[in-house]
């Protein structure tokens, strides 16, 4: 799960990670009121969406008067912001963050992420703030300092020194930077984060460090013990079809093709998409029905897949495992009664009691349900059906 910048900064503030003062606004009037309340004579108006690259897309503006705050708030609220992370369809801006302007002497980068190979969090820092960190990593990897922190000892002084001296900071800033990084590590561990990025991390002319941006992602499996973070979920940022699927224990991702897929298991679901592609078709979605594959979940799966008007056939590919295939076959037949399935459905069932399942499907004699013998056969039949062959 991801959260907005303003929410990440609320969490940072709790851990004494310095952030500028700011307030979220849902309307132009609220934005103006926030700016007045914050005081000063310079404000930043920032679109709040779950994607990076907002500045380049026109979603971040520096206002030098209350009139400008009003003007920029009017422009940004309600705009569809397109960045390199939103996809070409962009994202609708429904809230903005009004923040006091910062005194920027230098821009750095600081992030914490899981290093899967080392199996511990790694803190990454760079002098190349404001740039896309992946670009820095590819072009000038020597400009990124990485320090893995063994959670059994936690963040120690030497971790901080490796980062601060690695960045070449002057000695009067070393202590301040170490304190900042230590606090950020606590934010990461305490909240079961999967990612924190501060880009840019600003150094003021007085040599202080401030997080003027903040991005946080969380481990979905740990949200149960963080109700405060779960409460920050913004459903308008999530794909409605994916969310609905999630409620029924299904995992769904929409794609651009025309062969719908319903599969048990994430790996086999991806493998099924790959096979459709391999035999000359295009998959319309990823859909993992999980282990149970009951009539109800299969029916819901059909319903979600069929909402996509591009879908011309559906390939149901279930490797039964311990769940008996004859039960699944009956479930599929029942599902076709619950949902009006208007396109050909190719069914491949393998595993325990597969021959009995094939018999059930054959005897049901439903016009648009076609049995397949294996994965390759099913994919070919589904692709042919989508092409109207």
């Amino acid at each position: 799960m991801n959260i907005h910048e303003y929410q990440a900064k609320q969490i940072f503030a709790k851990y004494n990670v310095p952030v500028p003062k700011g307030k979220v606004a849902f309307s132009v009037d609220e934005a103006v009121a926030n700016a007045k309340e914050l005081g000063g004579n310079i404000w930043v108006v920032k679109a709040q969406i779950h994607a990076g690259g907002r500045g380049l897309g026109g979603g971040v503006k520096l206002a030098k008067s209350i009139d400008e705050v009003k003007q920029f708030a009017t422009e940004i609220l309600g705009m569809t912001l397109v960045t390199h992370q939103t996809g070409p369809e962009g994202k609708l801006v429904q809230k903005i963050y009004i923040e006091e302007g910062a005194d920027i002497a230098d821009e750095l980068y600081l992030g914490v992420v899981l290093d899967r190979a080392k199996e511990m969090p790694v803190i990454m820092a760079s002098t190349e703030g404001g740039m896309e960190i992946e670009k820095v990593a590819n072009e000038t990897p020597e400009k990124i300092v990485k320090v893995a922190v063994d959670p059994s000892i936690g963040f120690q002084g030497f971790h901080g020194r490796k980062l601060a001296f690695g960045l070449g900071l002057p000695k009067e800033q070393i202590g301040k930077f170490i304190k900042f990084a230590a606090a950020l590590y606590r934010v990461y561990m305490d909240n079961d984060a999967s990612l924190i990025e501060i880009n840019p991390l600003v150094k003021t002319s007085a040599g202080d460090f401030i997080a003027i941006d903040g991005k946080m992602g969380f481990d979905d499996s740990a949200l149960g013990r963080h109700p405060d973070i779960e409460a920050m979920r913004d459903v308008s940022e999530e794909d409605p079809a994916e969310m609905e699927a999630g409620k029924y224990g299904l995992s769904y991702v929409k794609l651009d093709g025309n062969v719908g897929c319903m599969v048990n298991g994430a790996g086999l679901a991806m493998g099924t998409m790959d096979t459709i592609n391999y035999v000359g078709g295009t998959p319309a979605n990823f859909l993992d029905v999980g282990g149970a594959a009951s009539a109800k979940t299969v029916a819901k799966g059909f319903e979600i897949i069929l909402r996509d008007p591009n879908v011309k056939s559906i390939f149901v590919n279930i490797f039964g495992g311990i769940v008996r295939c004859d039960r699944i076959a009956n479930g599929i037949l029942e599902a076709t009664k619950l949902v009006n399935v208007s396109v050909p459905v190719i069914v491949r069932l393998d595993g325990t009691n597969a021959p009995e399942a094939a018999e059930i499907l054959k005897n049901a004699n439903i016009g648009n349900v076609i049995a397949a013998t294996d994965l390759g056969d099913g994919a070919k039949k589904a692709v042919a059906a989508a092409k109207g062959e």
Partner: protein
């Protein structure tokens, strides 16, 4: 011969009396696995499935002499359970539980390594040595005894791969699901080494997926150390960037972790890479009949 487990392996079950634990323990016992008891705190002294229940893993190990634990405890408690197994001297923990917090697994894995306990999973189907010992949730009947070792991140692709190998007239020595989470126990390299050294295994099927770089590391290892033929499939060639595909670890971030990158590395290491899982069986037959 086989790797890690065989017909003499003594097993206990953590989360023995729960719904999943009960169902799958029954299936494992029916397969022939030597399950000698289980652990459920506060239920010590009871008899479940005709076997003793213990309050702690230490007691269970002391009484049964078990060396392997199959873990079914709920996700919030799985880190604790793994550490308890390591503390009690278990040699291999097979973690079936899905949805374990990453931080918990990070701590538990580090503690397991420190105590010389191997782990498999979490969120995996387990391990099976065909017709000898099944520790996990896979359908036993599709694994016919033979000479092909199988390592897979995905559960259902383990079944798909094994089924195809058996359908073309070969069989499985040991098949292992390593799980698709960000932090996992035994991984390709350790298992490839075991299969390379196992006299019963003649070829290896390796099934990977998008995300992370375990397959790239495995490719390097294969190039230098594995002389047995390896057939590989990487799931997710058609997966979009930045979208999590079911498994917590299956996500292409930036330019890293793509299927194309992994397939290229494996091919460069001399591995027979197939583009569809439907080709696994044929390819195994091809490499073994050379």
């Amino acid at each position: 011969m086989s790797i890690l487990v065989n017909k003499n392996t003594k097993v206990i079950v953590q989360g023995f009396t729960g719904k999943e634990g009960t169902f799958h323990s029954e299936q494992c016992i029916a397969y022939g696995t030597k399950i000698l008891g289980g652990v459920t705190p506060n239920k010590g002294g009871q008899i479940h499935l005709g076997l003793p229940v213990f309050n702690t893993v230490s007691e269970a190990v002391a009484t049964t002499g078990a060396t392997v634990s199959m873990i079914f405890v709920p996700p919030a408690f799985v880190g604790d359970a793994v550490m308890e197994a390591a503390d009690a001297g278990i040699e291999l923990a097979v973690i079936i539980t899905e949805g374990a917090p990453v931080k918990d697994m990070m701590m538990a894995k580090a503690y397991a390594v420190k105590n010389n306990m191997k782990t498999l999973g979490p969120n995996c189907p387990g391990i099976i040595t065909a017709q000898e010992c099944k520790i996990g949730i896979m359908p036993g009947m599709i694994f016919k005894k033979g000479s092909v070792g199988l390592i897979s991140k995905s559960g259902t692709l383990t079944y798909e791969g094994a089924n195809q190998v058996c359908n073309v007239g070969y069989g499985i020595s040991t098949a292992i699901g390593i799980g698709g989470d960000p932090i996992i126990g035994l991984s390709y390299i350790q298992l490839l080494k075991m299969f390379q050294e196992d006299s019963e295994t003649e070829a290896i099927v390796m099934i990977g997926e998008i995300g992370g770089d375990l397959e790239i590391q495995a490719a390097k290892y294969i190039k230098e150390n594995v002389t047995k033929p390896v057939v590989a499939f990487i799931a997710g060639q058609t997966a979009p960037k930045g979208k999590r595909m079911g498994h917590a670890g299956a996500i292409i971030s930036g330019s890293a972790g793509t299927a194309a990158e992994k397939m290229e590395a494996l091919e460069a290491a001399g591995v027979a890479v197939v583009k569809s899982p439907a080709e696994i069986g044929h390819k195994v037959k091809e490499v073994l009949s050379k």
